[in-house]
């Protein structure tokens, strides 16, 4: 560990903030264990993706500027989500093209921003975690983790290091679960058909837990499993990595 701790700002994500704060605390714990000093900028809300994907460019720009201001001055920005990290990394600069005050800062922020598991492995050099998990786990890759920020092997490396855990791959792993943010509500019939297929694919390995790095997908998958009467625990990967599996899983009753 270096003398001066790496200064990380946590981008909580709006879904973790509202639905599953425990994921945020698990992320903080993992980052601190890796030797980071973690801050949570108070003026953050959302990455702006709902507006950006709805074609509401002006509002998306406004939110992007707010994020850039809020996350100024850190070594890294880390999000427990490939989707929000991908938004900041891949889209802020083009969104703010021509904005003299923010374009360069957007590019700088893009280079500092990481999805949690990729950051732990690729930047902090974490290779294993000590928390045990007794059972079969199937990992769900979110589209944005896979195709926007290149997270694929990192969470698997960490999960495989956990004593007692056996990782089983589901078929059609690269296919979208049908969440897609507001897509899931605007085109819910299509979204539900997609999540039905995904839930079926994910259960073929008969896992004890389905985990992923994006809460949007996980709410979608857990919601479909619950509706169809299947009781497989769905959790964010950070929860497993910290051994925080005593609380009810996503969508699970008390």
């Amino acid at each position: 560990m270096s003398e001066v701790p790496v200064r990380v700002a946590l981008f909580v994500t709006c879904l973790v903030d509202l639905f599953r704060p425990s994921v945020g605390f698990a992320a903080v714990q993992l980052l601190e264990q890796a030797g980071c000093r973690v801050d949570v900028p108070a003026t953050q809300t959302c990455c702006g993706q709902p507006a950006y994907n709805a074609g509401d460019k002006a509002d998306a720009q406004q939110i992007a500027r707010q994020v850039i201001d809020a996350f100024d001055g850190y070594d890294y920005v880390v999000a427990p989500s490939g989707s929000c990290a991908g938004m900041i990394r891949n889209h802020y600069a083009s969104l703010l093209k021509g904005d003299a005050n923010y374009h360069e800062r957007a590019m700088a922020l893009a280079n500092q921003t990481w999805e949690l598991t990729a950051f732990l492995v690729d930047i902090m050099g974490v290779e294993s975690v000590a928390a045990p998990f007794d059972g079969v786990v199937t990992y769900h890759d979110s589209c944005s983790s896979l195709r926007e920020v290149g997270t694929r092997n990192q969470p698997r490396l960490l999960l495989n290091s956990m004593p007692g855990l056996r990782l089983e791959e589901a078929p059609s792993g690269e296919v979208c679960c049908g969440f897609g943010g507001t897509f899931s509500v605007k085109y819910s019939a299509i979204s539900i058909e997609m999540v039905d297929r995904k839930a079926t694919a994910l259960t073929t390995t008969d896992p004890d837990a389905i985990v992923g790095a994006d809460l949007g997908c996980l709410l979608n998958i857990a919601g479909r499993l619950k509706r169809t009467g299947k009781t497989i625990a769905v959790r964010h990967v950070a929860e497993l990595l910290t051994g925080d599996v005593d609380a009810p899983a996503i969508g699970e009753g008390a």
């Binding site: 909580v12 702006g48 709902p50 994907n53 709805a54 509401d56 619950k226």
Partner: protein, 477 residues
């Protein structure tokens, strides 16, 4: 073709009711998707070829006027004719005039999406000329009275049983018994189609490419029907849109190497057929008359705008084959000729965003289309541009637009946002903790139609974090 893209949501509901459609579409994920991957992996230079193919097309589009004029000059030098048509109406009328000049009663047709785009079959029928589709998939949907649901596999939405039923009903006039086996079904279609090639007065084909260097048109097929269609009748009409031109024979072979691999996972299509002008003295066969009907229909306008990248499309179908939205709803829901991600971009550009604004919006932006596109078309980016246009032009329902504005107003006021999200987390957390998820909730009908909404834990992260840092400060850390 008449568009129903404006009733997209209703089309989707209809599609999702169809059990056989679901069965047929679910095959894509396990058949054609893996076939493409395997073909790509067998060719180490595949990615480099895609880059080269993109460069060829970009160069062509930047000099389109030159290459089109070269192409026309070559065709004319070989005794053929090129007819420039700005609109579908002009193209239809030109083709009808050519058919009448040939005194045509029946016309055989190879597969052509441009013919679908201009609504050629209905127009010919209305003018007492019988169009006969000779591609098996097109033959099937012509019997069924349906438009194609895929740009290279027009009947992909039907199961083997659907086709057996259809053939049994429509082939009664030939005294054919009910068939079940694909081989027998194909043989029946072949038996019926064979004599029609020779009897047709005109053969109409599309074109995968037009080559400026040689004045040739190219079709790629797996059935050989295109060859018979274009070489047996006295008149061959090629109907193509103007972005199909490429500079040289060498260029086209580069693009062909990525086309079949991306489309069906084949190394090469079974037939790659070049046609260059009418029959020459000494040729054993071939048409006496060779015409090319070149359609613009909005493409030259795209050339100068933000959607130019779309004109690189070579119609391989990889984007739809790998699209989970297309795989869920099939092609007919898109309401017009072009379907899947490429249709979601092309359709609004050709028929107008007002009628088709649902198409670019109905995507989860999963990014697979861009990943598999051999021509490197940034489909999600283009869909997003269309969404921005639709938002600016207020084409989305007012309720959606206002919901977005209200949400954005909150998201740019952190303190207010914080207070409200804490209140929502508490209310939903308190009422949902026992079951862990909601089955019923006001204002969440769309989400809840087929899945529960997991309940929040009851507090927001930010409020808990503030408490934690306060306690830590008090403890003197």
């Amino acid at each position: 073709m008449e568009s129903t893209a404006h009733t997209f949501k209703e089309n989707v509901d209809d599609a999702l009711q169809k059990k056989n459609l679901k069965t047929a579409m679910r095959r894509l994920e396990t058949t054609i998707g893996p076939a493409r991957l395997a073909a790509r992996d067998r060719l180490p230079e595949f990615d480099a070829l895609c880059d080269l193919a993109r460069e060829i097309k970009d160069h062509t589009l930047a000099n389109l006027d030159v290459y089109l004029e070269n192409y026309e000059a070559k065709v004319r030098a070989q005794g053929g004719h090129v007819h420039w048509c700005a609109t579908p109406e002009e193209a239809r009328q030109k083709i009808l005039d050519l058919c009448r000049a040939a005194d045509a009663k029946t016309v055989t047709k190879g597969k052509s999406m441009i013919a679908e785009e201009i609504g050629l079959n209905d127009f010919l029928e209305a003018n007492d000329i019988e169009p006969i589709e000779t591609d098996l998939g097109e033959y099937i949907i012509q019997l069924a009275g349906e438009p194609p649901s895929h740009i290279i596999a027009p009947a992909v939405h039907m199961t083997k049983e659907d086709i057996a039923d259809l053939f049994f009903e429509k082939h009664q006039i030939y005294d054919m018994p009910r068939r079940e086996e694909p081989r027998e079904l194909v043989d029946d279609a072949r038996k019926i189609l064979r004599p029609k090639y020779g009897a047709a007065d005109v053969g109409i084909t599309g074109a995968n490419f037009l080559i400026a260097e040689t004045g040739s048109s190219i079709i790629v097929t797996n059935e050989g029907n295109g060859d018979l269609t274009q070489s047996l009748p006295k008149t061959h009409i090629v109907v193509a849109s103007l972005e199909k031109v490429v500079p040289t024979l060498a260029d086209v072979t580069t693009i062909l190497r990525v086309l079949a691999r991306s489309a069906t996972g084949q190394e090469f299509s079974t037939y790659t057929t070049f046609s260059t002008g009418p029959r020459r003295d000494g040729d054993l066969d071939g048409p006496e008359n060779y015409h090319v009907v070149l359609l613009d229909n909005g493409r030259s306008a795209m050339l100068g705008g933000e959607f130019r990248d779309m004109l690189r499309c070579i119609r391989c179908g990889a984007c739809m084959n790998n699209c989970p939205v297309y795989g869920s709803i099939g092609g007919h829901a898109y309401g017009w000729v072009y379907v899947g991600p490429m249709g979601a971009v092309l359709t609004p550009s050709l028929i107008g965003l007002e009628d088709a604004h649902d198409l670019p919006n109905a995507s989860s932006f999963c990014g697979r289309c861009e990943e598999v596109c051999p021509m490197r078309i940034p489909l999600p980016k283009l869909m997003r541009l269309l969404r921005e246009q639709a938002f600016t032009e207020k084409l989305a329902p007012a309720r959606e637009r206002w919901a977005m504005r209200v949400w954005a107003a909150l998201a740019t006021r952190p303190r207010l946002y914080r207070a409200l999200s804490e209140a929502v987390a508490r209310v939903l957390g308190n009422s949902g903790w026992r079951r862990g998820a909601f089955r019923y909730l006001p204002f969440a009908g769309g989400w809840l139609a087929g899945r529960d909404l997991p309940a929040p834990e009851g507090r927001t992260f930010h409020s808990l974090w503030r408490e934690r840092t306060r306690l830590e400060a008090r403890a003197g850390r």
